[in-house]
C-alpha cells in the first residue's frame, strides 16, 4: 500500500471552553484522490481542514500528511509543512495593498526564490486560471469569481502535492462555481490530491467524487457521492439558500 496523502486516526478537537468540534475522526486519502468534505454548517468542516496545515492543533489522535506526523510537529516545522500544501481559505485572505501578480508571488518569496523565476512561475499560475491579463490589477478590482481564481493561482504556484479548499464556491453563482470545480478537477487530473469542503452537492454530483460527510463533529459517511445517503441529502438541503443567492460576479 502506498503512503496516504492525508490520514486521520481517532482525531478529536476540543476548543477551550469544552466545545468538542471533532471527535474520533478516522479516514485516509490516497495520493491523487479527489475528495469532497461535506456537512451542515457547524459540522466541523473548517476545523478539520485547519488541522491539516496545523492552523489548529488536534486535541488527540494522529494526523499524517505525506507521511509527516502533524500532531507531533513543533512550531519550527510548521512553515515547512505548509509550503507543501496549497491552501484556499473561506475568507480568501488576499492582500489588497498589492497587485494580482504580487499576491501570487508571495508564497515564492517566502522561500527566497530568485525574483525572475518567481515572476515566471507566478505568471504561469495566473495563466492556468485565466487571469494573466489582469496581473497588474489590484485584487479589489476583480469580480468575486476572479478573486477566487486568484486564490487558486496563489495556492498552486508552489506546485503542491495537496490542494485544500474551504467553501471555494460559497459566494459564486452556479455557472462560475462550475468553472472553479472544473479547475480543481484539472489539477486533480495531473496528480494533485484535492480536498474541498462544500455544502453544495448538486454542483459536484456529475463528477462522482468520493464524499466524506461530517455531522456534529463526527464522521457520518465516507464513500462515492452516487450512494446518496440520507445525511448527504440533508446537507444539500442546507445549501439551497446559497444557491438561490445571486453571485457577485
Amino acid at each position: 500500500m502506498t503512503q496516504a496523502a492525508i490520514s486521520f486516526s481517532s482525531v478529536s478537537k476540543r476548543y477551550p471552553g469544552g466545545r468538542e468540534a471533532l471527535s474520533g475522526i478516522d479516514f485516509s486519502i490516497q495520493p491523487g484522490e479527489f475528495v469532497l468534505l461535506t456537512g451542515h454548517s457547524g459540522a466541523g468542516k473548517s476545523t478539520l481542514l485547519k488541522l491539516i496545515p496545523a492552523i489548529e492543533r488536534a486535541s488527540s489522535g494522529t494526523i499524517l500528511v505525506n507521511g509527516q506526523n502533524v500532531s507531533a510537529l513543533n512550531a519550527r516545522g510548521v512553515p515547512f509543512l505548509r509550503r507543501n500544501l496549497g491552501l484556499i481559505f473561506q475568507d480568501q485572505k488576499l492582500l489588497f495593498d498589492r497587485s494580482v501578480l504580487d499576491n501570487v508571488m508571495l508564497p515564492l518569496q517566502l522561500t527566497s526564490q530568485p525574483w525572475r523565476d518567481a515572476q515566471r512561475r507566478a505568471r504561469a499560475a495566473l495563466d492556468k486560471v485565466g487571469l494573466l491579463e489582469r496581473e497588474r490589477a489590484n485584487p479589489v478590482a476583480l469580480s468575486g469569481g476572479e478573486q477566487q481564481r486568484l486564490c487558486i493561482a496563489r495556492a498552486v504556484v508552489n506546485r503542491p502535492a495537496i490542494l485544500i479548499a474551504d467553501e471555494p464556491t460559497a459566494s459564486l453563482d452556479d455557472e462560475y462555481a462550475d468553472i472553479i470545480m472544473d479547475m480543481f478537477q484539472s489539477f486533480n487530473r495531473v496528480g494533485v490530491t484535492v480536498l474541498v469542503a462544500t455544502h453544495d452537492l448538486d454542483l459536484v454530483r456529475r463528477r462522482h467524487p468520493r464524499l466524506i460527510a461530517l455531522e456534529n463533529g463526527r464522521l457520518a459517511g465516507d464513500g462515492p457521492l452516487a450512494a446518496d445517503a440520507a445525511a448527504f441529502d440533508r446537507s444539500s438541503a442546507d445549501a439551497a439558500p446559497s444557491q438561490a443567492a445571486p453571485g457577485p460576479a
Binding site: K50, I55, R76, P79, F80, R83, K93, L95, L110, S112
Partner: protein, 305 residues
C-alpha cells in the same frame, strides 16, 4: 546570488519598498530619532570642547610670587636663584611693578581706572612656570606656594592650582551629566523604535498573517523589522550628526569673535571620522534592539486563523 544572502537582500528590498510607500512618515521618524540623539551628542561635544580649551590653558601652570615693597636687590636675586633651583620649575620671569602697571593699562577698559591712581600700587613679582602638566602640576604649585609663604620679603604667593582643580571637578560633573543624558536618551531611542515597529506590525498584520499561512518562517517575518529598526537608528544618527554639525558651524563664528579677545581659538571641533562611525553603529544597534524588543513582544500576538 548567494543562497545565504538572498533572503537578506529580499528583506532589504522589502524595507526599501516600505520606505518608498510612506517616505514622509519615515522622515518624521528619522527626525525624531535624530533630535533625540542630537541632544547627548551636542552636550558631549560641549564638554569635550571645554576640556580641550582648558587643557591648552593649563599646559603652563604658573605660580606668581609677589614681593614685599622695599625688598633689597640682593634678597630679590637670592629668591630668584632659589626659585630657579626648585624642582618642577621650568622658567622664572621677573615682572617689575612698572611693567605690570603698563600691562594693566593696555588691557581693554583698564586705562581709565589706572589713570585715577596716584601712584603705582603693584608689587614686583616673579612668575614661575612649572614643568609638569595636569594634576601633578597642581600638586607642585601647591607645595611651592607653602614653601615660599614662609620666606621673608614675600607679600603673597598665588598658585593657579585651585581653579585648575575646581574646573577639573566641574568637568567631571559635566562628563557624568553627559553620560546620564546619553543613557536616558538611548532608552528614548529604543522606545521610539519599539513604538514605530509596533505600529508597522499592526498595519502589516494581514500580510504577516497570510505569509505565515503560506509557510513563512518566524525569521522571514522578523527580518524586515530588524532592518527597519537598524535603518531608523542609523538614519537618525546621521540626522543627529548633521544637526549638530550645522549648529556647530552657526555657533563657531560667534565663538571665534569671542575667543579673539583672549587670543585663543575657541572654535568647536567635531567628532573624528572614527568617532562619528562608532556613533552611527551605536545608533544602529539601539534601533535594532528596539525592533527586537517590539517584534518579540508583538509578533507572537499574530496567530492566523
Amino acid at each position: 546570488m548567494n543562497a545565504w544572502l538572498r533572503p537578506h537582500a529580499q528583506s532589504l528590498r522589502h524595507t526599501a519598498a516600505r520606505l518608498r510607500a510612506a517616505p514622509f512618515a519615515a522622515l518624521a521618524n528619522v527626525l525624531v530619532v535624530g533630535v533625540v540623539l542630537a541632544l547627548p551628542l551636542s552636550a558631549y561635544l560641549a564638554v569635550a570642547h571645554v576640556q580641550a580649551v582648558t587643557g591648552s590653558l593649563r599646559a603652563e601652570p604658573q605660580v606668581s610670587v609677589f614681593l614685599a615693597p622695599g625688598i633689597s636687590k640682593s634678597d630679590s636675586a637670592a629668591l630668584e636663584m632659589r626659585l630657579k633651583n626648585t624642582t618642577g620649575v621650568r622658567t622664572v620671569r621677573f615682572v617689575s611693578r612698572d611693567a605690570a602697571l603698563a600691562n594693566l593699562k593696555s588691557a581693554p577698559g583698564m586705562s581709565d581706572v589706572v589713570a585715577t591712581l596716584r601712584d603705582n600700587p603693584l608689587p614686583d613679582a616673579y612668575i614661575a612656570t612649572l614643568r609638569d602638566e595636569g594634576d601633578s602640576a597642581a600638586d607642585t604649585a601647591e607645595k611651592l606656594e607653602q614653601q615660599l609663604m614662609a620666606l621673608p620679603g614675600i607679600a603673597h604667593v598665588q598658585a593657579d592650582s585651585a581653579w585648575v582643580r575646581r574646573l577639573g571637578a566641574l568637568l567631571r560633573v559635566g562628563r557624568t551629566a553627559v553620560l546620564l543624558l546619553a543613557g536616558v536618551l538611548s532608552l528614548a531611542l529604543v522606545a521610539v523604535t519599539f513604538n514605530t515597529i509596533r505600529l508597522q506590525i499592526l498595519t502589516q498584520r494581514e500580510e504577516i498573517e497570510v505569509s505565515k499561512l503560506m509557510g513563512a518562517t518566524d525569521a522571514y517575518v522578523r527580518r524586515p523589522f530588524f532592518y527597519w529598526g537598524g535603518f531608523l537608528g542609523a538614519a537618525g544618527g546621521l540626522a543627529a550628526l548633521l544637526l549638530v554639525d550645522l549648529g556647530r558651524v552657526l555657533i563657531n563664528s560667534d565663538l571665534a569673535r569671542f575667543g579673539d579677545f583672549y587670543g585663543v581659538d575657541l572654535r568647536l571641533g567635531f567628532l573624528s571620522p572614527q568617532d562619528a562611525l562608532a556613533f552611527l553603529v551605536f545608533a544602529l544597534l539601539l534601533g535594532v534592539l528596539g525592533a527586537y524588543l517590539s517584534v518579540s513582544r508583538h509578533l507572537s500576538e499574530i496567530r492566523p486563523q
